[in-house]
Amino acid sequence: MNGVHDLGGLHGFGPVEPEPDEPVFHAPWEGRVLALNRALGFTGAWTLDTARAAIEELPARVYLASSYYERWALRLERLLLRYGLVGADELAAGRALRAGPPLPRTLTAGGVGAVLARGSVERPPPAAARFGPGERVRAKNIHPPTHTRLPRYARGRRGLIEAVRGCHVFPDAVATGAGEQPQWLYTVVFSGRELWGEDADPAATVSIDAFEPYLEPA
């Protein structure tokens, strides 16, 4: 979706402001939000891509006005409601009012290591890769209303396949409940001038990791 989360290339947000000696969490509730999201993600109630999409689906004004972990908290509430694990009345009451449906699994204190190791999203390829290193491609000018990992700034732009990264779970499909539909993933490099025009830094290049359905020969 063409959401406000797709920030690449926008003006108006001001300078980057690094914080010296930044703490891991700025308040205890941020750590709890992170942990709650990780623990619920572990249960298999939803996928990583569904969870990312749920942040992107926050109202634009809410997304922009919220801090990072506020967005994570709001996203978690929305997913719990959507999957019927928690009721709106329970959120309002601040306590459980009934038992919820069972989950495939839950995280125990002894199993924390499982959420600290990432799983692989590589899958057996359904077909040979369409493109190879050195080939010229164009990122398609597409605007799916659902989750996608093709940033707007790259759409319609010509780049070069730099590497084939394997065949990976396709977020666009997973996020809409259409299954993993694994696709070849490529690192595609664009010149700054192709992306941003003649005034761009001549010595800047930008790469994205693009799934095969995002690309066409150029």
């Binding site: 300078p15 980057v16 690094p18 750590g31 709890r32 942990a35 623990a39 590589e122 940033p151 394997g166």
Partner: protein, 192 residues
Amino acid sequence: MPQRVRALEAILAQKGYVDPAALDGIVAAHEHEVGPQIGARVVARAWTDPPFRRALLADATAAVDALGVARGACPHLIAVENTARRHNLVVCTLCSCYPWDLLGLPPEWYKSAPYRSRAVLDPRGVLADFGLALPAEREVRVWDSTAEVRYLVLPLRPAGTAGWDEAALAALVTRDSMIGTGLARRPPDGAR
């Protein structure tokens, strides 16, 4: 927000969906275990051990796993090497993708709109926000982490560190140098 999150945790614990002790464990791991000191060890090893450097650039996941410094490296980890001709900078314009298994949780600025919007459009301007000015002819390569591949920048080894051991070198490797918004620290004059 603190009250709202507390209520959410209470509901989920009452329903048996989360174990507060497991949440404690996740928070503690991020506060005390996972952090940029892990990535720094990888970088310092690459600086001192040429076969490891080659292995890291060829297959970072396998190299980091073999080193045994992380609980399990990202299965799709790529190390990108800074050189005299190219400087690498990592961003996630769409969300906050980051090699947290090697660097810990990303800093606030990495997840913020200013960085995510400008890193791809004006990378040298972003580097200037960090006080970093590179020669105009040096390529700045921005890696937008738009899938599950994670990028670790292998910074240039600072001059004046010949003969340093791995632990001393690791102390020069900053988090920002492994994202590309900084360089490795220079050794203090007296240490050269």
